[in-house]
């Protein structure tokens, strides 16, 4: 009938085919990336060995933004075309994105300690990422706050889009705020130019993270589909019980 009722079998077949590749790519790219990052790339002349944190931190920060964009795209698809898989994809994307955001914050903090001497600096970028993390949390909280999961998905989809519109405004205002308050001595992360020996592991790690995202996303979506089936079975049981009691009620009514 309508795709709302469509069996997700086609998706599951596709997922079965993609998933091993995504997993394999994650391992291969991640392994190679880590080798280059930890052993073959040079230490920074200023930052020393701590620069190696960058190979986790920067791809995580990229993924934080990438996942939020993917989340917003999935939510827009869900709201406009009402495709049920888009709802599932959005729901599955959010925790992954939140984890990458948290990873970016944690590694940024670890990097900050030797560089700035404190665990946390209200640097414009870190602050924006922190707010992005809050946006993820708001999305996930709203998504899970309803007894009817469909309501949660629709409501949180609207929130995700509102948040997406807000991301550049927040970024702009935090930059503004930062220039007003921050002393200019902060060392910019990454530095002006990246040497190829550092770019290789960075890109490898970035692609490994993308592959990991696809892998986990498919797994989570599979989980969501199973949860949906279980819910449907439960509802059917309730309905069956209701129908038998109604029949019994009708029978006694006739007897009178």
């Amino acid at each position: 009938m309508i795709h709302r009722f469509a069996n997700p079998t086609r998706f599951l077949r596709l997922a079965d085919r993609i998933q091993p590749w995504a997993a394999g790519l994650t391992v291969v790219l991640g392994g190679a990336g880590l080798y280059f990052a930890l052993f073959s790339s040079p230490a920074d002349y200023q930052q020393g060995e701590t620069v190696r944190i960058m190979y986790i931190h920067v791809p995580s920060a990229w993924m934080a933004l990438f996942c939020y964009t993917a989340l917003a795209a999935a939510c827009a698809t869900a709201l406009i075309w009402k495709h049920p898989l888009a709802d599932l994809a959005a729901r599955a994307t959010a925790p992954i994105g939140a984890c990458f955001t948290l990873l970016a914050l944690a590694t940024g903090s670890l990097w900050g300690k030797p560089m700035w001497g404190t665990w946390w600096v209200w640097d414009a970028r870190l602050t924006s990422v922190l707010i992005l993390f809050f946006l993820y949390l708001g999305y996930m909280a709203l998504n899970g706050a309803f007894d009817d999961p469909e309501r949660g998905q629709k409501a949180s989809a609207i929130l995700a889009l509102v948040g997406f519109i807000n991301v550049p405004i927040i970024k702009f205002s935090v930059d503004w705020w930062n220039t007003l308050h921050q002393p200019a001595s902060v060392i910019k992360m990454g530095g002006p130019a990246i040497h190829p020996s550092m770019l290789t592991p960075l890109l490898l790690m970035a692609f490994a993270f993308k592959a990991y995202f696809v892998w986990v996303l498919l797994m989570r979506m599979r989980g969501e589909i199973n949860a949906m089936k279980i819910r449907a079975v439960r509802l059917r049981q309730v309905h069956a019980a209701e129908a038998t009691s109604a029949d019994a009620g009708a029978a006694t009514g006739e007897a009178r």
């Binding site: 709203l142 706050a145 009817d148 609207i158 807000n166």
Partner: protein, 222 residues
Amino acid sequence: MTNFVTILRRDLRLSFRQGMDSLMVVMFFVIAVVLFPFGVGPEPNILARIAAGVIWVAALLASMLSLERLFQTDYEDGSLEILVLQPVSLEVVVAAKVTAHWLTTGLPLIAAAPLLAVLLNMDAGGFAILILALALGTPSLSLIGAIGAALILGARRGGVLLSLMVLPLYIPVLIFGVSAVDAALGGFAARPHLLILSGLLLATVALCPWVGAAALRQAMRS
């Protein structure tokens, strides 16, 4: 437009008859600000330095707390369902309800702000800009919060949820609201900050009723 006025008058009437609501918001605002000297010490210089930020943050929280009920009571007693089914565009309904909310909570906050600024030892030169910034900023807060208030309808733990969703979205208003006052106190031009606040207000006026109406529609679907 007549529908806008009809709904606005009804919401104002409801709010005045219930009475306590807007008074409580102002009381919260005052108490939240008064807590700060206890937290950071009564040093006049420190208080003067943080006055604008403290007042803004407290105003933000007060506005948000009162927003939880914006659609909730109408949702619970069935009024919202009927309101959605009137031959009135839902955007107008949202705009009217937000206006009523701002008149009953935003305005009292603005009126109370100079008093709190005195308590926090703020320089008198910043008062006018503080009031102006609040006048431009608090309607944006009400409008953004209205989206959140519409989204939490029927959710468990609506109030906490609302703060989690809405507070990150309030950050731009907070930043420019405070920086306008700080600029005025520091002898710089507050105009650019106020202009950006006006820009934010225009954007929220244009977008929020529309998004809020979409949120209400989907809340009615279940």
